[in-house]
């Protein structure tokens, strides 16, 4: 294991310095071109496309999703549906959760009374801590449990890159041409 004793990075470096800097870009280009030529040659020999039409079908869908006419309406409609599903869909589970937590709160209060706990303790723990937490959970959890999976689904279908393609210009302009990525 390890390097041979005579390994020497500096020697490599000086080897490299013998090569002209300007030439290196050209060499890199040629290397990539040759790599691709070989890759194409290999694929031409071993890969057959039986059905060119099928391959083009995904492009057909892209053409609609990012078209001048339909690109933005579809995007807004999708966003609308996602929000509607999130808000409307969350209502029912939200109120169910709220009801469920409310019932537990009843039991908790009864338990505190049975134990003759002081009022301030009941106030802090049940009316404050418990009620606050359960309210947040019942309001926040259902929308999150709906919104994020839907978004993950859109991402899976590859719709989000199309959105980025549609909107790229809107987000690019303020930053002018200065930076990329």
């Amino acid at each position: 294991m390890g390097f041979p004793a005579h390994t020497d990075g500096a020697a490599l470096r000086s080897l490299m310095q013998k090569i002209d800097k300007g030439e290196q870009t050209g060499i890199r280009d040629q290397i990539v071109v040759d790599l691709y030529r070989k890759a194409h040659e290999l694929c031409a020999d071993t890969v057959t496309y039986k059905d060119r039409k099928k391959l083009m079908e995904t492009y057909k869908l892209d053409r609609i999703l990012t078209s001048r006419v339909w690109g933005f309406p579809i995007m807004l409609a999708m966003l609308g549906v996602v929000f509607w599903l999130t808000i409307a869909g969350a209502n029912v589970p939200s109120s169910m959760l709220a009801g469920f937590f409310g019932r537990i709160e009843g039991y908790l209060t009864a338990a505190f009374q049975a134990l003759h706990a002081p009022d301030w303790l009941h106030g802090i723990l049940v009316l404050g801590l418990y009620r606050g937490t359960s309210w947040v959970v019942s309001v926040m959890l259902p929308p999150m449990a709906i919104f994020f999976p839907i978004f993950a689904l859109l991402e899976n279908f590859g719709y989000l890159p199309r959105v980025a393609f549609n909107m790229d210009r809107l987000f690019k302009n303020p930053a002018a041409t200065a930076s990329r990525h």
């Binding site: 390890g2 390097f3 041979p4 004793a5 005579h6 390994t7 020497d8 990075g9 500096a10 020697a11 490599l12 470096r13 000086s14 080897l15 490299m16 310095q17 090569i19 800097k21 290196q24 870009t25 060499i27 890199r28 040629q30 290397i31 990539v32 040759d34 790599l35 691709y36 070989k38 890759a39 194409h40 290999l42 694929c43 020999d45 071993t46 890969v47 057959t48 496309y49 039986k50 059905d51 060119r52 099928k54 391959l55």
Partner: protein, 242 residues
């Protein structure tokens, strides 16, 4: 019983992580590459009584050190030299993926090519003759669908073959333009003399030619960690160089 190191490499979105999960299941942990903000996912599986440590390298389009991801992947294959490198290709975009495969095969001969998303490719009417491809590439080629756990057994078998050196692949080398080949021939013996046979001399000669000094820096870092004596030599060399 021995332990082998297996690296997964491929373009982004080739289902490399799906394969990683299929191989290692819950036996995995993630962290970061030392000093880098690149996620390092590691896991392990057992096959025929041997343990295989799998490392999921960052997904990259090439290995020319254009980004930290590419450097991490490249350094691992060239310097850490895993026992087997599994090159995961997206069977639906072969040309682009093949480009990376050819680059990896310049760095290591201990590789298995794995054509993922083969079910998807079938649906699109793409047919790949993997036997012929294996002959042309000089390494084992396995068709899989990581998502449907298809072909995994065959992949495990081929990984074992390469790990145990039952198969010693002789990967195809890209032939560059005459000019570049001539210069490689000049450089390669010199490089081999300097770094020994443990590292891919032809590939390093190519990097010298295209001016990629990050690989030399990486070699030096590794060197410094390995032998403090040579470290001084490098320091001398560096001050000379500037």
């Amino acid at each position: 019983m021995s332990t082998y190191r297996v690296a997964l490499i491929g373009n982004p979105n080739t289902g490399k992580s799906t394969l990683f999960n299929a191989l290692t299941g819950l036996r995995q942990h993630t962290g970061n590459w030392a000093g880098k903000t690149v996620v390092r996912a590691e896991g392990e599986y057992e096959y025929n009584g041997h343990t295989y440590n799998v490392i999921d390298l960052p997904g990259t389009y090439s290995l020319f050190s254009n980004s930290v991801d590419e450097e991490v992947a490249r350094d691992y294959i060239v310097l850490d030299r895993p026992d087997v490198t599994v090159i995961v290709l997206d069977a639906t975009a072969m040309e682009r993926n093949m480009n990376l495969a050819l680059q990896v095969l310049e760095m290591t001969s201990r590789a298995v090519v794995c054509l993922n998303l083969i079910d998807e490719a079938g649906k699109l009417g793409i047919e790949i003759r993997e036997q012929l491809l294996a002959e042309k590439l000089g390494v084992p080629v396995v068709k899989i669908s990581a998502r449907n756990k298809q072909g995994i057994t065959e992949l495990l078998r081929q990984i074992e073959n390469v790990a145990k050196r039952r198969i010693v692949p002789k990967p195809v080398q890209v032939k560059y333009s005459e000019e570049i080949e001539r210069r490689i021939q000049e450089l390669e013996p010199e490089v081999r003399r300097l770094i020994g046979d443990d590292y891919p001399a032809r590939w390093i000669a190519l990097r010298l030619l295209d001016g990629d000094d990050s690989i030399i820096a990486a070699l030096e870092r590794r060197l410094g960690a390995n032998a403090s004596q040579t470290k001084e030599m490098i320091a001398d060399g560096l001050s000379c160089a500037h």
